[in-house]
Every structure is written in structure tokens, then in C-alpha cells.
Point group: C2
Amino acid sequence: MTSLSISTYPGIPEIQAQDDLATIIGDVIQASAEGIAAGDILVVTSKIVSKAEGRQVAATDLDEAISTETVRVVASRPHPGGVTQIVENRQGLILAAAGVDNSNTPDGTVLLLPDDPDASAQALCTVLRTRFEVPIGIIISDTLGRAWREGQTDTAIGAAGVQVFEDYRGTEDSFGNILSASTAAVADEIAGAGDLVKRKVSGRPVALVRGLQDLVLTDDELSDPAHTAKSLIRPSENDMFRLGSKEAYAQGFEDGHVTARASES
Amino acid sequence: MTSLSISTYPGIPEIQAQDDLATIIGDVIQASAEGIAAGDILVVTSKIVSKAEGRQVAATDLDEAISTETVRVVASRPHPGGVTQIVENRQGLILAAAGVDNSNTPDGTVLLLPDDPDASAQALCTVLRTRFEVPIGIIISDTLGRAWREGQTDTAIGAAGVQVFEDYRGTEDSFGNILSASTAAVADEIAGAGDLVKRKVSGRPVALVRGLQDLVLTDDELSDPAHTAKSLIRPSENDMFRLGSKEAYAQGFEDGHVTARASES
């Protein structure tokens, strides 16, 4: 009994600005052996969404492009090859390089993240649900680093038609204890699972995840803001790591110094 | 063409202290329709490893059990229900409650993480490779929170027989740019993918991931320390979030105050 299968669609062409991504993906699905079925979830690499949305921009200076996308600097660390900066970007994500990508782009250009990845997911979801007349979910993925752990994992930055959390809070375990703090970020797990298949062959930016129909929403639930990738971003008032340790220490040192001086005079 | 399938083995009994977990899992595999094949990866929930290793301990006071497992406090935040503490625990993981679990345990007891999850994975891997005479991988998973993002994802805390990273550094993209910062933490993505299936039915603590044989190591590579879940933990000298912002600020304030006072006198 296979509970979950993940595959990729072959034949997705290199995407260009102004391409109609939903139609291109729909045509590929229609021509494929896998097709699409009720309860399927598509994991779409953000890069092709960005390209279709014309987010490839001229940039002679990568650092300048990164500054433009940065809302605030969270932490920075010099290393032999330059400086790693972790920032909050325009989409509210905390990540390196503000999500500006200069891989897989022609010289002199960089690729920005989709302006509103949840809206991009919603648009794809609506067109594909209408065309194939089945409830499906869309997750737009990007590759993000993490605090405390090495390496990156693919993460959900846009979502539509799919539950992003599975909430166990308030349910009882088999010993009758209430599970108080268990909310699985299933959309992030799905994005990572999609990467496991997409990474294997280049030119496969869309993964088909089949077997999680319990997470796929009805048409009526589609516009519920609880089901967005934005809701996966922790609000700043609950964020215990809003600044890097070095940066927070420096701010504290400055304030402590000023306070002591003020009380002396 | 399905590239990856994930299923669970039925019939794994409630695990008790001193149970021979490798034999129990081996027997379940042998009796199953799925069986096991070269290149398969098993994702094993840490809870059953802990139980077999006798890590269920009497604890009348959960907070006391958490302190015992804590090496240092990283951050804490009061909230209406108590205080959330993020700590570094004995296994080097940064997580809430030091990995001490009081769900699915009888009243008056808590469950600690396996003492050395990589060693636990190695032991399972060796026994199962010998019994079934195929190269397989083992990932021991636990549910961890993240900085900046809501919800938890299943993460690799122990690994054996499987690459934990896929390293793209130094490879070229299709435009000839060198990819400098791309190391996928595939073991964490696999742990999360396993959760997507295990979560669906209770009492399914082992997921079978089939289709990632390129990540499974040969017998000769089994003891290479590069392929451990420990290597997924960022070394403290590279960790920009070693302390919570509030804690680092307070330390800085104190030091700034003392420095100013000293320069006055």
C-alpha cells in the first residue's frame, strides 16, 4: 500500500517573461501519463513563477539588488569569501541574499522572488482547478537556509488550495494527555518532499505529490487567509530570533553604555 | 513514472524498554507486502528508539527533567500558558523542552531522546543490512520547531547508511555560473516526507521511502562521520543565532553598563 507518491512532469520548457505559466503547466499535465487527479498537490519551484512574472531584472551589482529587496538586516557574518547577510525581505521571509538569485540567470541579470507568492499560487490553482475540474493544491517552493542547522531545505513560500498546517493541538494522545504544542507545518514538509524528486533531474520544476488529498481544500475554502504560506511566517512579536546574537548584543552594549553615562552625569 | 514512493509498515507493536527494535522492525518488514529493497530508506520515529533504549524515566516534575537534559538556555519567552524555552540539549540540538516528551507516555514518566541517535541509527542499519543483504539507509526523526517560521517539521536527528547532504557547491548551472551556496539537507527533507505519511495513521512509526537509492551509501562508507545527522547541526562558531535577541541584548546591556562605569572611575 503506497500512501504517497511523488513524481515530476517532463517537458516543461524554459520559462520566459510574460509566459502564461498556468496554461503551460496545464498543457504539460494534459500531455503527461500522470495527468492530474482530485487531491493532487503540485510543488512549483519559485524560479519559474518569477520568470513568468517578469521578475528577472538587470543588475550589474548583486549587492545593490539584494539591498533593494531587503526590509531589514537580521544578522551578518564576515567569512573568507565575503559577508553572509540574513535579512527580512519584502515578502516577509527571513533568508540569505533577500531571495535574490543569480544562478540560472544570464550574466547581468538577477531573479527576484514573486512579488506575492500566495497570489501567484492562487492564480495557478484557480486556472488548473477550472481546467481539469478537480480540487488540487499548489505550493510554490524556494530553497531556504535555517538557524542552527547546516544546509538548505525547500520551503513553502506560496500556497493555495492546500492546508499549510495540520493542527494536533487539543487532541488527546493514547494516554489521554492533551497535545498542546503540535502543529505540523505540512506545507514545508511537502515542499521539501518535492525537492527530493525535482533535484534528481534538471529541468523538472514541477513535482506532483499524490496521496495527501486530506490536506486539499474545497473550492469554498480557497480564499481563507488561514491557508496561505504567509501564515507560516512567525509574527515578529513571537519571534525570539528577530536579530542575530551579535547584533542584539551590540545594541544592548550601546544602550547600556549610554544609560550608565546618563546616570553618572 | 513515479520517482519516489513513501509508505508505512503496518503491525509495529507498542515498543517497551529492552525490546530488540531491529529484530521487531525486521520481522515486520519480512511479513509485509512492501518488503525491503536495495536503496530503500527507513524513517524511524525517535520515540520508539527511545522506548526500546529504556529512555522512559520517572519524572514527577517535567521542568526538572527538561533542566537535566539542557546544556544551555538559548532563549525564553513568557506566554499566558507558561514559559517557552529554547535550549541546546545534550545531543547538541536546539529545540524546545530539550527534547523531553510527555505525550504518549504514562503519567509520572517522560521520554528522553536517544542518548546518541546516530549510533542508534547505525545499529539498526547494520542489523537490517545484514539480515536482508541489501544496502539501505536509516533516518531517525524528531519533530522540531524552527526560528522565524510557525509549526514544526520532522527533522533528522540520527542517520546511518544515507547521505545527509547533497552538495551542489562548485557545480555549474546552465548559464555557467558556479553554484556557491547550495547544499541540500536531504536527510531533513526525507524526515519531513516520512512524517507526511506517518501522520495519517497512528501507530505507524516507520516510513519506507523508496526511490532515493542515489543517496544510499555502500557498506564501506557506513562509518564515515560525514554521513551523520550530527553533521547537520551547525557548529557554534558559525551560528549567528546562538542566543535569543532578548538574551543577547541583555548581556550586551550589562557589559556596556559595566564598561561605561569602569571608564568613569
